[in-house]
């Protein structure tokens, strides 16, 4: 559905995105993860035909964004970061206007349908200017959905929403992603983890990693952190664990627990368990410490760990 090849964009002398290449298929929710200024919005603006790329090709639904800009815009729904609403129109007026520009047939029925979809039917005749942030966001989403686009591009859709709204919004997006392509940007990691089928991590205009949220976690846990609990004082066990081959480092975390890190690509868990048991202690628990996407993100976007991610790729 979306094919991006060697995409770059310069703002004057500053290169906002540099040689991005990725694809997205129908029925897939692709997450863009990156800090502010990473190039997420720029990429999305190019995909929506808002501005042309400096280099590279972008195809959406088989149409080139420069050659067939109008065709691309016809099949793309876009919710920009600042929700674009006319405050002095009612919700229905606004959506009808957008539907008209989007060449929707049977505008009235479609507006009602979309309002129900985003749960805004009860405020249909209220003025946009009087809506809360969460409601504005929903009207913005309705605007992006009004023409039943094949591709939905959402720039930071849950920013400024309260926790309940965020949960509803994510469910809504998940539902929408079933039969179309959704591209979603965020700097909130759990969000991407919960909503997306695949994640692109971007920093300073480069793609740092691309994978499913689960795979990404596995890839980075090439060097694994494991926590063991024993019926003994952790001080007695610590030297024991440290001596096991394949253990990189170990620390006592509680009076009876130890966390150790294994060498990349080596599973030292059986050896550690054996060592503990053979020394005559009771092993109560042994579990991998999961790195959150937060850790992954920090690790991946820290410049000094670039070589580390190369290593884990092989593992």
């Amino acid at each position: 559905m979306i094919r991006v090849t060697g995409l770059s964009k310069d703002y004057g002398a500053r290169r906002a995105i540099d040689d991005l290449t990725f694809n997205a298929n129908r029925g897939e929710i692709l997450g863009f993860l990156g800090p502010n200024g990473a190039g997420k919005t720029t990429t999305m603006r190019i995909l929506t035909g808002f501005m042309p790329p400096s280099a590279g090709t972008v195809e959406v639904g088989g149409y080139d964004v420069i050659e067939n800009s109008l065709d691309v815009r016809r099949i793309v729904g876009y919710l920009p970061e600042t929700v674009p609403l006319y405050n002095d129109m009612t919700v229905v007026e606004y959506l009808s206007y957008m539907a008209g520009l989007r060449k929707v047939r049977k505008i009235r029925a479609r507006v009602q349908e979309t309002l129900e979809q985003v749960g805004m039917s009860d405020r249909a005749n209220g003025y946009v200017g009087n809506l809360s942030k969460g409601m504005r966001q929903r009207v913005g989403l309705a605007q992006a959905l009004i023409h039943q686009p094949d591709v939905l591009i959402l720039d930071e859709p849950t920013i400024g929403l309260d926790p309940v709204q965020v949960v509803n919004f994510r469910e809504l997006i998940r539902g929408l992603g079933k039969d179309r392509t959704v591209l979603l940007s965020s700097h909130i990691l759990p969000e991407v983890q919960q909503v997306c089928d695949r994640v692109l991590i971007i920093n300073k205009g480069h793609i740092i990693a691309e994978d499913t949220p689960q795979q990404l976690q596995i890839r980075l846990s090439g060097s694994q952190r494991v926590r063991i609990q024993v019926r003994a004082d952790s001080k007695d066990i610590l030297p024991l664990v440290k001596d096991v081959a394949g253990v990189l480092s170990a620390d006592a975390v509680e009076h009876d627990s130890i966390e150790f890190e294994t060498m990349p690509g080596q599973d030292a868990r059986p050896l550690v368990a054996k060592a503990v048991v053979q020394a005559g202690y009771d092993l109560l628990q042994l579990e991998p410490v999961k790195m959150s996407l937060e850790d992954i993100f920090l690790q991946l976007t820290r410049e000094d760990t670039a070589d580390l991610s190369d290593e884990t790729e092989e593992a």
Binding site: L70, Y78, P80, T82, D88, M98
Partner: protein, 242 residues
């Protein structure tokens, strides 16, 4: 084509939502109303029937100053609030946006001008044997073309800014310069021909105002409108490349 009308219709609606339109309308009717009344009194005392020029003359001046206020919002506000982003990602061509905005202003001016017909109609009833219909037609046709040019210049200027005040003053500046080039032509003889051709007021007052419809002037005004709207569209398009 459909998109142009949609945008124009929305613009027209917004004029009636915003206070600017009412303020402009009130200013026009107050000033023209007072002048009309005064010239009627003068006409009675001097036993001369006033012509509709007493309405159209002041109307041009008021429109000169008020059209920048009508157009300043059109594109500047869309840029400021970010709604231009949805407009530019909708399947609408850049020139359709600009023409739609201009046409919305034209609809509004058309309504205002139609309402000022109360004065000629009133005049026609009290003057015997009625007013010169040809003069009326040529004056109003001229007014439409003239304000069409004002609006086109205004919309084009509005596309350059995200600040409405800036858009207002640039438009007013351009209009005033084009308004006085006829006077400049009388002093600067070396470029008199060019300056006289550029003059907005000359193309109205020398012909339409006196009851003459000259194709040359129609072409001039249409050129101003098309050129301005084209520049406006180019300016919108250039936003994409920044």
């Amino acid at each position: 084509m459909n998109s142009i009308f949609l945008i124009a219709r929305k613009e027209l609606k917004q004029f009636f939502i915003s206070p600017v339109a009412y303020v402009v309308a009130i200013a026009i009717f107050m000033v023209v109303g007072i002048l009309f009344y005064v010239s009627l009194l003068a006409g009675f005392s001097q036993q001369v029937a006033p012509s509709i020029q007493v309405i159209v003359g002041p109307l041009t001046t008021i429109l000169l100053f008020s059209t920048p206020a009508i157009t300043m919002r059109t594109l500047a506000e869309e840029q400021k609030t970010g709604t231009l982003e949805t407009l530019l990602t909708a399947p609408v061509r850049d020139w359709e946006i600009v023409v739609g905005k201009w046409l919305g202003g034209m609809f509004f001016i058309f309504i205002i001008l139609a309402l000022t017909w109360v004065y000629p109609i009133f005049l026609n009833n009290i003057v015997d044997p009625g007013i010169d219909q040809g003069l009326l037609i040529s004056n109003y046709l001229g007014l439409l073309l003239l304000t069409g040019s004002f609006l086109a210049i205004g919309v084009a200027s509005s596309s350059l800014f995200s600040n409405q005040i800036a858009a207002f003053f640039i438009t007013l500046g351009i209009l005033l310069v084009l308004w006085i080039t006829g006077y400049a032509a009388s002093q600067i003889t070396s470029a008199a021909e060019v300056l006289r051709y550029l003059d907005l007021s000359g193309h109205f007052f020398d012909t339409f105002y006196t009851g003459v419809i000259d194709l040359k002037d129609v072409v001039y005004f249409l050129t101003v409108i098309i050129l301005s709207l084209t520049l406006g569209a180019v300016s919108i398009e250039s936003r994409r490349w920044r």
